[in-house]
């Protein structure tokens, strides 16, 4: 499959490095800023960027991402407009892999086939659907594969081995291991369940494994890289974004730069990336 996610993880593996996956909600504070943020996060060594499609009823999300989605929806965000932004950053030369992070209904209404074709054309690399378990994913998986897009599947500590096997069969690009039972949101302590889940997943797949839910600082990113291939940071960045833009209509001039710095500080290294164990070694 010709896909930036696969190329990126191969590259990280060759360099023996962990991947950093920042998450932002598209359209918060506005779509123009989203575009600038993607470009900036690419410069901050993001391995993959997760672009959240806001949804009115985000049952898997904690208060931070709920609030951000609500802000974004005030801007009449749509799947089409978000894919346009992806197209624009590709036109500006950004080659960071981008995955959309969505609930199923907005994609279903856009049309599964229409989504895959439009997303591919725009330059997106994959999609993760929080409320699409493997039993429901067959049709969409087929459509995405035909368009060389990755379907990022979620695995949870509650998933049985039987389920993990089903999940890995539908997954491409990487598998997203949810660090603990619960909704998204920053936590002071990482659960030990995550490491256990990653170990169990390795039995069923050779795909890279990213860990997310609750990772909010450089220390936790470094900790995660000891056993997983990438770390996702969502709520911590989103919270910082909302703190800096209490008024949606007044985005400070240095906002993008500040978020870039914030994201950069989530990386456990400053200048030259050191070697991390990561991966299957």
């Amino acid at each position: 499959m010709n896909n930036r996610i696969i190329r990126k993880f191969n590259e990280l593996k060759t360099e023996d490095r962990g991947g950093f996956i920042p998450f932002i909600v598209a359209g918060d504070p506005d779509l123009d800023t989203t575009k600038k943020l993607i470009l900036e996060l690419g410069k901050q060594d993001a391995g993959v960027i997760e672009l959240g499609i806001p949804f009115s009823d985000p049952v898997a999300d904690g208060v931070t991402i709920q609030a951000s989605a609500e802000r974004a929806l005030r801007n009449s965000i749509s799947v089409g407009k978000i894919l346009d932004v992806v197209g624009e950053v590709r036109n500006e030369g950004c080659e960071t892999p981008i995955i959309l992070f969505s609930y199923f209904n907005p994609i279903l209404q856009f049309g599964l086939k229409n989504f895959a074709e439009t997303a591919k054309k725009a330059g997106a690399d994959g999609i993760l659907i929080t409320d699409l378990i493997p039993e429901e994913a067959a049709e969409f998986h087929e459509i995405l594969t035909a368009n060389e897009l990755c379907l990022i599947m979620l695995a949870a500590p509650t998933s049985s081995d039987e389920r993990l096997e089903k999940i890995c069969k539908k997954a491409s690009g990487f598998v997203y291991a949810v660090s603990r039972a619960g909704v998204t949101g920053a936590r002071n302590e990482m659960s030990s369940e995550a490491e256990n889940l990653v170990e169990r997943l390795r039995k069923f797949t050779d795909l890279p494994i990213a860990v997310g839910f609750g990772i909010s600082n450089a220390e936790q990113v470094a900790e995660t890289w000891k056993y997983a291939d990438a770390a996702v940071v969502g709520s911590a960045i989103v919270k910082e974004m909302m703190n800096l833009t209490p008024n949606l209509n007044e985005v400070p001039k240095d906002f993008v730069q500040k978020i870039g710095e914030f994201a950069g500080n989530l990386l456990p290294y400053k200048s030259k990336p050191p070697s991390y164990v990561g991966g299957k070694s």
Binding site: D57, Q109, T158, A181
Partner: protein, 406 residues
């Protein structure tokens, strides 16, 4: 999946009726839902479990509920004979107790110590708080703050029964938002907690399980009408929010081809999106989609964002409808209509004054439809309408709305 034959209206193993239903949830909930499904199927045909359930329905809830011939209404309207299935007379004042009793027995069987629930009008919350008190289990009920305002009496009832009521301030602050919050609680505390969902919606196996526990309504009604009239009714009418009281009445009659059925949705203030909860009304923005674990008809905008809804009745004020209803609508077995706020309010008063029964605002939507169609039917035809709950909880709200006229 789309055209499979359905035997006796059973869903397939993934929880689909036709193209409706399924299990659209975060992966964290997938294994717990599998366990719940296994646990439910283990007791579904277990005589001991069913006996215990029926015994509680009888001794604790006071079943069977009567089937009452509404003589004055029938005569005044001058058409069909109207029977009321008196779910308002069950313990806690609505049909919700049936499902709560069934599920609490299952929760106990599964060894769960903490129960959570969502509630709209508060009737399911009260029923859940009641069965938790009965068995000494911890109970947390999520309720939209708008619903807490208009159903203040039920909030206090739940607290009296020992439950903790948690207000939900998101969205329109109604039922949908309460379900979101209950799902978030469940995903976080899934090991210790049983989610006692109150309507025939959500991910598989909830729509099936809730329907099974509510089908006692239709089984009784079928026996009672045969005993009173010696024949089956011509028409069944019930209000439809999530759809539990209606599927409970309708289901045992589905194979009786001569029995027509009408589900009555909340028409609200107008057909404009955001001002009603009539999901099957395409003109009002209804379209097939996925919300809160299930695929069904949904009120949504062109971007797939779930629309706000409105109804005078908190229990019908919901953007989606149970998947089995969506399927039965798609095959033409059940027709769906709606009654507006004004029509429901009128029916609320008419039934109070004609029969001496104050109906819940939810049930008033079903009554409102009967007021419209009974006069068009002949005197030898029979309607059974489900009086799903009593209206005591709505008296303050109705007083406010009518105060100008009093």
């Amino acid at each position: 999946m789309k055209t499979q034959q359905i035997n006796n209206f059973e869903p397939n193993e993934l929880g689909y009726w036709g193209e409706f239903g399924g299990r659209f949830v975060p992966e964290t909930l997938a294994a717990p839902l599998e366990k719940l499904t296994d646990a439910y199927f283990a007791v579904r045909d277990d005589a001991g479990f069913q006996d215990e359930f029926l015994q509680l329905l009888k001794d604790f809830s006071g079943r069977p509920t009567p089937l009452f011939y509404a003589k004055r209404s029938s005569e005044t309207l001058g058409g069909a004979k109207i029977y009321l299935k008196r779910e308002d007379l069950g313990h806690t004042g609505s049909h919700k107790i049936n499902n709560a009793l069934g599920q609490i027995l299952l929760a106990r069987k599964m060894g769960k110590k903490r129960i959570i629930a969502e509630t709209g009008a508060g009737q399911h919350g009260v029923a859940t708080a009641t069965v938790c008190a009965l068995f000494g289990l911890e109970c947390v009920v999520y309720m939209g703050t708008e619903d807490m305002r208009r159903q203040a009496l039920n909030v206090f009832r739940m607290q009296l029964l020992g439950a903790e009521v948690r207000g939900v301030d998101a969205g329109a602050k109604t039922l949908k938002d309460a379900i979101n919050e209950a799902l978030r609680d469940w995903v976080t505390n899934v090991d210790s907690t049983y989610y006692l969902l109150g309507s025939a919606l959500g991910p598989h196996p909830y729509p099936l399980m809730v329907r099974d526990f509510q089908a006692v309504i239709g089984r009784e009604a079928r026996e009672q009408i045969l005993e009173k009239e010696g024949r089956l009714p011509d028409l069944l009418v019930a209000c439809v929010g999530g759809g539990s009281n209606s599927i409970g009445l309708f289901h045992p009659f589905l194979n009786d081809e001569t029995v027509k059925m009408i589900g009555v949705e909340a028409g609200g203030k107008s057909e404009k999106l955001g001002e009603h909860a009539a999901r099957f009304n395409k003109a009002g923005g209804g379209k097939i989609g996925v919300l809160q674990g299930t695929k069904s008809w949904l009120l949504q905008d062109e971007n797939g964002q779930i629309a706000l809804t409105h109804s005078i009745s908190a229990g019908l004020d919901y953007a989606s409808v149970g998947p089995e209803h969506a399927y039965l609508q798609s095959i033409g077995r059940i027709d769906y209509a709606f009654a507006t706020d004004d029509e429901a309010l009128e029916a609320f008063q008419v039934l109070s004054q004609t029969e001496g029964i104050i109906p819940a605002l939810e049930s008033s939507h079903g009554i409102a439809h009967v007021l419209k169609i009974a006069p068009k039917m002949s005197a030898d035809e029979i309607i059974i309408v489900n009086l799903s709950g009593r209206g005591d909880k709505d008296v303050n709200q109705v007083q406010e709305m009518l105060s100008e006229n009093f």
